[in-house]
C-alpha cells in the first residue's frame, strides 16, 4: 500500500522495513509532502535562532542584575527580589509568555503591547535569567574566601576586586553550565509559537493545517532542532576543554573540589 507514495528509491528500504517489522502504518506518510514542506518549515530557522540568541543575551545580562538586586545593603530589598525571582523561576514559562503577550496590555498603567517576538523575548529572557543568576552565584561561591582577603590586603578597590579577581575566576567554570542552558532555551523557544511567532514550529503547524498532513512538517521541525542543538552541544564541550587547557588553575581548582 505504502509503496504507492514512494518517490525516493533510496529510502524505500526504510519504509519497507518499518511496514514489515513494526506496527507503525506509514499510510499517511508522503515523501513528496516531506520535500514540499522542508523549504517552508526551514524558513523558520532564522526567527527561531534570532529569538534564541537575543533571549540568551538578555538572560545573561539580567542574571547579573538579579545578583546585584539581591546583595544591596538593605536586607528587606534583597528579600523582596529573592522572592520575585523565586516566583518567576517556579512558574511555567508558558504562563509568563501568555501573561506578557495577552495580560500586560490589559493593565491600565502599563498600556503597552508587544509583538509576538518581543513578548517571547521578554518572557523567556526574564525566565531564563533566573536560572542564569543561580549559575553565576555558584561560580562566585566557588572562588575561595582567601581571594577576597588577598584583595583587601593589597588594598584593591571593590570594583577591581570584582572585575580583576573574583569574576575572572568565577565565570570560566560556569561556561559549560551556561552552554547547557543555551541548548535548553533553544528547545523552549517553540513555546513562542503559541502566541504566533513564526519560528520553525509555527510554520510546521501552519503547513500541517493547510495541507492536512502534520506528520512530515513536524518531523522536519524535530530534525531541524536536532541538527542545530547537537552540534552546539559538541561546540560547548570543545569550548570547555579549551578553557580548561588555557587556564591551568581551573583544572587544579576542580581537582581540589573533588578531593
Amino acid at each position: 500500500m505504502s509503496k504507492d507514495f514512494l518517490t525516493l528509491g533510496e529510502v524505500g528500504w526504510l519504509e519497507n522495513f518499518i511496514n514489515e517489522y513494526t506496527p507503525i502504518d506509514l499510510t499517511y506518510w508522503s515523501n513528496e509532502t516531506f520535500m514540499e514542506a522542508l523549504p517552508i518549515v526551514a524558513q523558520g530557522i532564522q526567527i527561531t535562532l534570532l529569538l534564541t540568541v537575543t533571549t540568551f543575551a538578555l538572560s545573561l545580562v539580567l542574571g547579573f542584575f538579579w545578583l546585584l538586586l539581591e546583595s544591596t545593603p538593605f536586607r528587606f530589598v534583597n528579600l523582596i527580589f529573592y522572592w520575585i525571582r523565586e516566583f518567576i523561576r517556579s512558574t511555567p514559562p508558558l504562563i509568563q509568555i501568555f501573561f506578557v503577550y495577552y495580560g500586560l496590555p490589559m493593565l491600565q498603567f502599563v498600556d503597552i503591547s508587544f509583538t509576538p517576538f518581543m513578548a517571547g523575548l521578554i518572557a523567556l529572557g526574564v525566565h531564563f535569567s533566573t536560572y542564569i543568576a543561580e549559575v553565576y552565584r555558584s561560580g562566585i561561591e566557588s572562588v575561595p574566601k582567601g581571594q577576597t582577603e588577598a584583595s583587601i590586603a593589597l588594598n584593591m578597590t571593590k570594583f577591581d576586586k570584582w572585575t580583576k579577581i573574583i569574576l575572572p575566576q568565577a565565570i570560566p567554570p560556569t561556561i559549560p553550565m551556561l552552554g547547557n542552558y543555551l541548548i535548553i532555551l533553544f528547545k523552549e523557544v517553540p513555546l513562542a509559537a503559541t502566541i504566533g511567532v513564526l519560528g520553525i514550529l509555527q510554520l510546521a503547524r501552519n503547513f500541517g493545517s493547510q495541507n492536512w498532513s502534520y506528520l512530515e512538517p513536524l518531523t522536519i521541525a524535530a530534525l531541524l532542532f536536532l541538527v542545530m542543538s547537537y552540534p552546539t552541544a559538541l561546540l560547548i564541550r570543545w569550548l570547555e576543554d579549551k578553557i580548561k587547557r588555557n587556564n591551568p588553575s581551573l583544572k587544579k581548582a576542580r581537582e581540589r573540589v573533588e578531593v
Binding site: 583587601i152 590586603a153 593589597l154 588594598n155 584593591m156 571593590k158 577591581d160 591551568p248 588553575s249
Partner: protein, 283 residues
C-alpha cells in the same frame, strides 16, 4: 665564637644593604591597640589587648592555638572588625571615623581603604591569584592600586621576585609551584607594595617540613634589611628567638608575657608559658 665573629664581619663587608636596626622606642608607635576586644558569637577570644608597635620593630606573637594570635593581626589588616576598643594606625583610628558633629561612627569602606594602604599581609594559605602568572600577581596590584606605569611595575616586580629566588619562574602559574615557592611569591607580592608594616600569619604552617627553611630564609633576609615593622604569628620558636625584637605570649585572650625574645622564651617564669613551650618542644 671566633667563627661566628668572622662570619659577622664578612657579612658586613659583603652585604652593604644591611640597615642599622635599632628600634627607637621613644618614637611614636605606628600602630596602637587600645583595650581591643573581639568576640565570635558567644566566644570571647580577645579580652583587652594593649599593644604599641614601633617603626621597624620585629614582633613575634606566640601562644596556644585558639588564643587569638591570628585575630590580632587580621583586625589590623581590616579582615576582622574588633568588638570593642580602638586600633590607631599612624595617628588615625582604623575602625572608627568622625562624623560631621564629632561623633565617632563605624568606618566606611573608603576610610579603611585610605588607612590600610601602609599595611601588608602574607597568609597561611598563600592566597595567590591562580588565574594570573607569578609576575602578574605582583604587577597587577601595583598598576591597579598604586597606579604605577606598567613597565615600571614589571621592573620592580621582577626585581622583587629574583630577590625571593623566583626570577626564573615569572611566566608560570601558581598551580605549578611548590608550597614554599608559592609562599615566596606571596611575600614578593606584599613587598612590592612597600608597606610600613608587614603581617605574617603562620606563613610556614601549611608547608611541608622540608620547605619551611626557604621561606624562613626570606623572612630573615627581610628582617635584616628592611626598615618596615613586622608582626609574625608563628610556631617557629627558634626562629622567633633569632629575629624578633620583642616576643608576645598570648594566653587567655590577653598578652600574658611581653619582652625581648630571650626574656620571654628562655627566662620567663610564667607557668603557662613554660607549659606551652614544653609541650611545643616535645613535638
Amino acid at each position: 665564637m671566633a667563627t661566628r665573629e668572622e662570619e659577622m664581619t664578612t657579612q658586613d663587608q659583603t652585604d652593604e644593604e644591611v640597615v642599622e636596626q635599632e628600634v627607637d622606642y621613644n618614637a611614636n608607635p605606628i600602630v596602637s591597640y587600645k583595650d581591643v576586644h573581639k568576640s565570635f558569637g558567644d566566644v570571647h577570644v580577645l579580652k583587652g589587648i594593649n599593644l604599641d608597635i614601633y617603626p621597624s620593630e620585629k614582633i613575634a606573637i606566640i601562644g596556644p592555638s585558639g588564643s587569638g594570635k591570628t585575630t590580632i593581626i587580621r583586625m589590623l589588616m581590616t579582615l576582622e572588625e574588633p568588638s570593642e576598643g580602638d586600633i590607631i594606625v599612624d595617628g588615625e583610628n582604623l575602625w572608627k571615623m568622625e562624623k560631621g558633629n564629632g561623633e565617632m561612627v563605624r568606618a566606611s569602606d573608603k576610610h579603611l581603604h585610605g588607612i590600610r594602604d601602609d599595611i601588608g599581609m602574607v597568609f597561611q594559605h598563600f592566597n595567590l591569584f591562580p588565574h594570573k602568572t607569578i609576575l602578574n600577581n605582583c604587577v597587577m596590584p601595583l598598576t591597579s592600586v598604586r597606579k604605577m606605569p606598567k613597565n615600571e611595575a614589571i621592573e620592580l616586580s621582577k626585581e622583587m621576585l629574583s630577590r625571593v629566588g623566583l626570577g626564573d619562574k615569572l611566566d608560570m602559574y601558581p598551580s605549578s609551584l611548590s608550597g614554599g615557592q608559592k609562599q615566596r611569591v606571596a611575600m614578593a607580592r606584599a613587598l612590592v607594595m612597600k608597606p610600613k608594616i608587614m603581617l605574617f600569619d603562620e606563613v610556614t604552617s601549611a608547608l611541608d617540613p622540608e620547605l619551611v627553611g626557604e621561606v624562613l630564609e626570606v623572612i630573615r633576609d627581610l628582617a635584616r634589611t628592611e626598615e618596615m615593622a613586622m608582626v609574625m604569628v608563628t610556631h617557629e620558636m627558634d626562629f622567633a628567638l633569632e629575629i624578633a625584637d620583642r616576643v608576645l605570649f598570648l594566653d587567655g585572650g590577653k598578652i600574658a608575657e611581653s619582652g625581648s625574645a630571650s626574656e620571654v622564651i628562655e627566662h620567663s617564669e610564667n607557668p603557662r608559658l613554660q607549659d606551652f613551650l614544653k609541650r611545643f618542644r616535645a613535638d
